[in-house]
Symmetry: C2
Subunit: 193 residues, 2 copies
DNA sequence: TACGTTAGTTAGTGATAACTAACATTTTAT
DNA sequence: ATAAAATGTTAGTTATCACTAACTAACGTA
């Protein structure tokens, strides 16, 4: 039953911190939402920072983009871009709690902020650029600036993700498929031969 | 001399809150950075919330997109999209402090969060969509889903803005012209006849 | 010179938050 | 049924924070 309590606390903490950020949530808040006493929280996690780390650890997903790129691509540009887009968005969705917590407490968690951004995204950028390069060599698309176009493509998806993450009742809500479809369509006819 | 002090306080508050958010900045912090005593801060702004409101008021820019659309467009699609992109990014840059403060204190400032997002962006979306519609009628571009493409275009720019705003040492830093150029290029050849 | 404005200083209040300690109660496993 | 583990309760410590009050010092202006 130990695990049950710990999970309830983590779930409550994740929910609260995702909405309000780290410093705007008290341990008492977490205890109340979790339905336990404040002491119990401290017994499971020594400090408030300990709770945060557990939350981050629980919701931190490492992407396996390399594996994805080597296995799931068909060669058809439109289809592949759609797959890449959906994979990226699914990955961001999983990391949404972390993203929302860190954006609300940027100054307190600078290293994490960088972790989210650069490592993963830059790796993906290179993979997409390499994919473009491959398709150029296959004669499927024009001789574009592969790196720049990879950035444009991924940044668009990032914009979509952020819009949905920051604004609950947003006009983009439930528009994922539509957005991806139009983005890919424009992109494909924009870079095709 | 009155204005000088008030300005110093506002400047300090803006800087601190942009970096750390509202609730992670104390009035004492602001006073120290402004080089005045804490009491002086309270004499100029009755409450801490009063400081925030003054900061928001000072850095809140209302866009005149309608005017821009009726005056600054040439008819050349590539050129116009570039102009639109730069105007939008310049507008977001001006509102950057507000954006950063509100994202760090979402739960405390929900109305402001919505103000930033919907009103302005949705208006711009309609203007861009109308522009696409006009160019379709002119025979310059294909019969696209104007609204969807307007969203894709603006969301890409939004993604660029957010990346730069949230991450100081980002790979996109100082890449504005390049980004806009590649985005517009892909877009233009993607929707042109 | 006298006065008003502006700012600094010091001390304090009340609230909240993170965290500890000691002890009581419930739950679970054997 | 009983011991051990997990949780609750209560009280308290320390620190910070928003904000107030009272008094003082510097300044420009009439």
């Amino acid at each position: 039953m130990k695990k049950d309590t710990k999970d309830k606390i983590l779930t409550a903490a994740t929910s609260l911190m995702t909405e309000r950020g780290y410093s705007n949530v008290s341990v008492k808040d977490i205890a109340i939402v979790a339905g336990v006493s404040e002491m119990t929280v401290f017994r499971h996690f020594e400090t408030k920072m300990g709770i945060l780390h557990a939350v981050l650890h629980k919701h931190s997903y490492i992407p396996y983009f390399e594996q994805f790129f080597s296995q799931n691509l068909s060669g058809d540009v439109a289809n592949d871009l759609k797959q890449i887009a959906n994979t990226y968005l699914a990955f961001m969705e999983k990391n949404k709690p972390i993203f929302l917590i860190t954006t609300q407490d940027r100054s307190m968690l600078p290293e994490l902020m960088n972790t989210i951004s650069n490592n993963q995204t830059q790796q993906l950028q290179q993979l997409v650029a390499a994919y473009f390069q491959y398709q150029i060599e296959q004669g499927k698309i024009r001789e574009i600036d592969t790196k720049a176009q990879a950035i444009v493509f991924l940044t668009s998806l990032f914009g979509f993700f952020v819009s949905n993450a920051l604004w609950e009742h947003h006009f983009l809500k439930d528009q994922k498929d539509s957005f991806v479809q139009h983005l890919v369509a424009t992109f494909v006819s924009g870079i095709s031969i």
